[in-house]
């Protein structure tokens, strides 16, 4: 039972991060390689709001969520918008540069030491007992719930929401969408905002559960295989991909060698790229256009 809980928790972490990759790729064909850093920035924003709104943790969380959304929008407005019309590769390289810049700035502003936003907000991470003798930490349980809610909200938004439909249209055929009067810059800015928000939620919850260090950005990269295995343009793919990667990692720790847990996700990824380069739920046409 504990094994199952471990798989669900790790998969949820990867799924929450991976949907950010998918949102941006699906709409603009850009691989955001600064996603891990933006995720970490979200966690640091929570640390800042926790000290700003000392004694009011919910206000701190709300402010950090709004700021994360705003950061994503600003990344688009001040950086990625300038990449419009350039090669996709140039945009991807811009995200690499953004990631390096953010890492340096975060150390300068918040220092390199381990931080605990949960402690600053007066939270303690207790453990919950589950049937079958399994246990889960409170924040891990919240993370699983937040992941489920995020995916549900995104499915509803993209299927029925006015801006969601516009995002899908812009992703499928930007030229036609623009001709139909869709504000492409607005759509792209929203995609960046939502992507940064979901990544930040993951960063905040990981930080609340076990603390925050400068190496958190790498966890963002570890979720990348989940998005690729599932298919970069598919949200359901990101969910299934995260489950596959999470399960392979936990099972390799349990039954093979803990050291392999770092390698197995990439072995799965390589196998997928050989057998089905567009991923389980991605579309071949989308990948050909990269």
């Amino acid at each position: 039972m504990q094994l199952l809980v471990n798989i669900i928790v790790l998969s949820s972490i990867y799924a929450l991060i991976a949907c950010g990759y998918v949102l941006i790729y699906r709409v603009s064909r850009v691989l955001n390689l600064a996603h891990g850093e933006l995720m970490m920035l979200g966690a640091y924003l929570l640390l800042t709001t926790a000290s700003l709104f000392n004694g009011n943790p919910w206000l701190a969380i709300g402010a950090a969520v709004v700021l994360s959304l705003a950061v994503g929008v600003m990344v688009y407005v001040f950086l990625m918008r300038k990449m419009t019309g350039e090669m996709v590769l140039a945009a991807v390289l811009a995200t690499v540069a953004l990631g390096i810049l953010l890492r340096g700035v975060m150390v300068l502003v918040w220092s390199a030491q381990q931080q605990y936003p949960g402690q600053a907000m007066g939270f303690t991470s207790t453990a919950l007992a589950l049937p079958g003798g399994a246990r889960i930490s409170l924040f891990a349980a919240i993370l699983v719930g937040v992941t489920a809610l995020t995916y549900l909200a995104l499915f509803v938004f993209l299927r029925f929401g006015r801006w969601g439909v516009r995002m899908r249209a812009a992703g499928q055929n930007p030229l036609l969408a623009a001709q139909r009067g869709i504000n492409l810059h607005g759509v792209y800015a929203l995609a960046w905002g939502l992507s940064t928000l979901t990544g930040s939620l993951a960063g905040m919850l990981i930080a609340l559960d076990s603390g925050l260090t400068g190496s958190m950005a790498i966890i963002g990269l570890k979720a990348f295989p989940a998005a690729l295995v599932g298919g970069l343009d598919s949200l359901i793919g990101a969910l299934i991909g995260a489950l596959i990667i999470g399960a392979s990692e936990v099972l390799s720790i349990q039954y093979i060698d803990p050291l392999l847990s770092d390698v197995v996700p990439f072995l799965v990824l390589i196998a997928m790229l050989i057998a089905r380069p567009w991923g389980l739920f991605g579309t071949r046409e989308e990948l050909d256009r990269v």
């Binding site: 390199a112 991470s125 570890k222």
Partner: protein
């Protein structure tokens, strides 16, 4: 506060650029010490506080008149724990800045290029807060020295000896390491020593850095039936494995290395069965030298808490002594000669002095102390004990 320190840093960087020619002229009348350190990058939390402490120490030294009537110019370069950057830093510090002493405070992967550059230039190299390489242990190689508290093999011996003394029932021991060569090597050594000491090794987890969730690793240790766990790794791996074990309901005893973060973390976690074995005295001791450090950090507006400053402060004390011994017209060779015959009283920051000889550039005796949270404060569980380093 955070943003104001960022602005101050930016202003200082601008001012430094504007005053560069003047600084160069001043450096000619100063001992130039080159530092390549992981101030950014994943392992920065281990090294950045030490270099901040060293900077504060040297600033304070200069304000008090310097050494032998000369100031000390500390030129700090960030290598982000990347070997290529460390190599470029070392070249720049040795050829452009004309450093007479080099300091490495970074991952062991940066050692090779920095050692090579320093050797070529004939400049001594001090490892401060970074792990001591084999070259500093007897028989030591000329030109490499180390002040860092932790010591491969000795740390495991001290920790296992403590477990053997403390355990009231047969010890089933689990191990936790980070998937980096040094941590793995030490845990392999500890595992090999556990059997002869009458302990039963039941599990060993080598955890990749960084890991999103430590619970799967902790689950294995718990399921293996460990009643003691020993971890020797960067702090993040040590503490997160412990906390994951506790969340799983594990109630055993956990022994781990007292990194810079240990004091603050013992106060945060407040668990009586979490023991930290270390070579530095914690600030709970409230020694006069610790009060002095705390005051200096406060005055300088240090980025890190005073209780993380010991490593850098010790490096500062040793550098001051080495420069004093080398004289006002010190060359790199004279500094190296001075370092080869050095004894520095650490005023209680460690169990004994740092003493270097021609053959031993680590220390002649390695002292340990064990602390834990006793319910109300941090308490010494086992007072200073030592091993001769031969």
């Amino acid at each position: 506060m955070q943003s104001s320190s960022f602005i101050a840093t930016a202003l200082m960087a601008g001012a430094a650029a504007a005053l560069a020619p003047a600084a160069t002229a001043q450096a000619q009348n100063a001992y130039v010490i080159g530092v390549t350190a992981a101030l950014t990058g994943p392992p920065a939390s281990t090294y950045a506080p030490a270099i901040d402490a060293l900077r504060i120490y040297i600033d304070r030294l200069n304000k008090a008149g310097g050494v032998n009537g000369k100031t000390v110019s500390l030129v700090i370069q960030d290598d982000s724990a990347e070997p290529s950057k460390a190599a470029a830093n070392a070249k720049k510090l040795l050829t452009q800045d004309k450093a007479v002493l080099m300091i490495n405070a970074s991952l062991s992967s940066t050692y090779a290029p920095v050692v090579a550059e320093s050797k070529n230039a004939g400049v001594p190299l001090l490892f401060a807060s970074s792990v001591c390489p084999k070259a500093v242990y007897p028989p030591a190689e000329a030109g490499q020295f180390c002040t860092t508290a932790f010591a491969a093999n000795y740390d495991s011996r001290a920790s296992l000896a403590f477990i053997k003394e403390t355990a009231k029932e047969p010890v089933k021991i689990g191990f936790s390491a980070m998937a980096i060569p040094l941590s793995r090597g030490e845990i392999d050594f500890a595992e090999s020593q556990a059997g002869p000491l009458g302990m039963t090794p039941v599990d060993k987890e080598i955890i990749p850095p960084p890991t999103a969730d430590y619970t799967p690793f902790a689950t294995k240790i718990k399921d293996a039936g460990a009643n003691w766990v020993f971890s020797w790794a960067p702090w993040v791996t040590q503490v997160r494995t412990f906390e994951a074990l506790r969340r799983l309901g594990w109630s055993g005893d956990y022994v781990t290395w007292a990194h810079l973060e240990a004091e603050g973390e013992l106060k945060r976690i407040k668990d009586g069965k979490l023991y930290v074995v270390g070579a530095n005295a914690l600030f709970e001791d409230n020694l006069p030298i610790q009060k002095e450090i705390a005051a200096a950090v406060k005055e300088a507006g240090g980025k890190y808490p005073a209780d993380q400053m010991t490593e850098g402060w010790i490096a500062g004390m040793v550098i001051e002594a080495a420069l004093k011994g080398a004289g006002a017209n010190a060359t790199a060779a004279k500094i190296q000669e001075s370092m080869q015959n050095l004894k520095v009283d650490l005023k209680g920051l460690r169990g004994g002095p740092i003493e270097w000889t021609k053959d031993n550039h680590f220390r002649t005796r390695q002292y340990y102390r064990v602390y834990r949270w006793d319910g109300t404060k941090i308490a010494v569980v086992k007072d200073w004990f030592a091993y001769d380093v031969k």
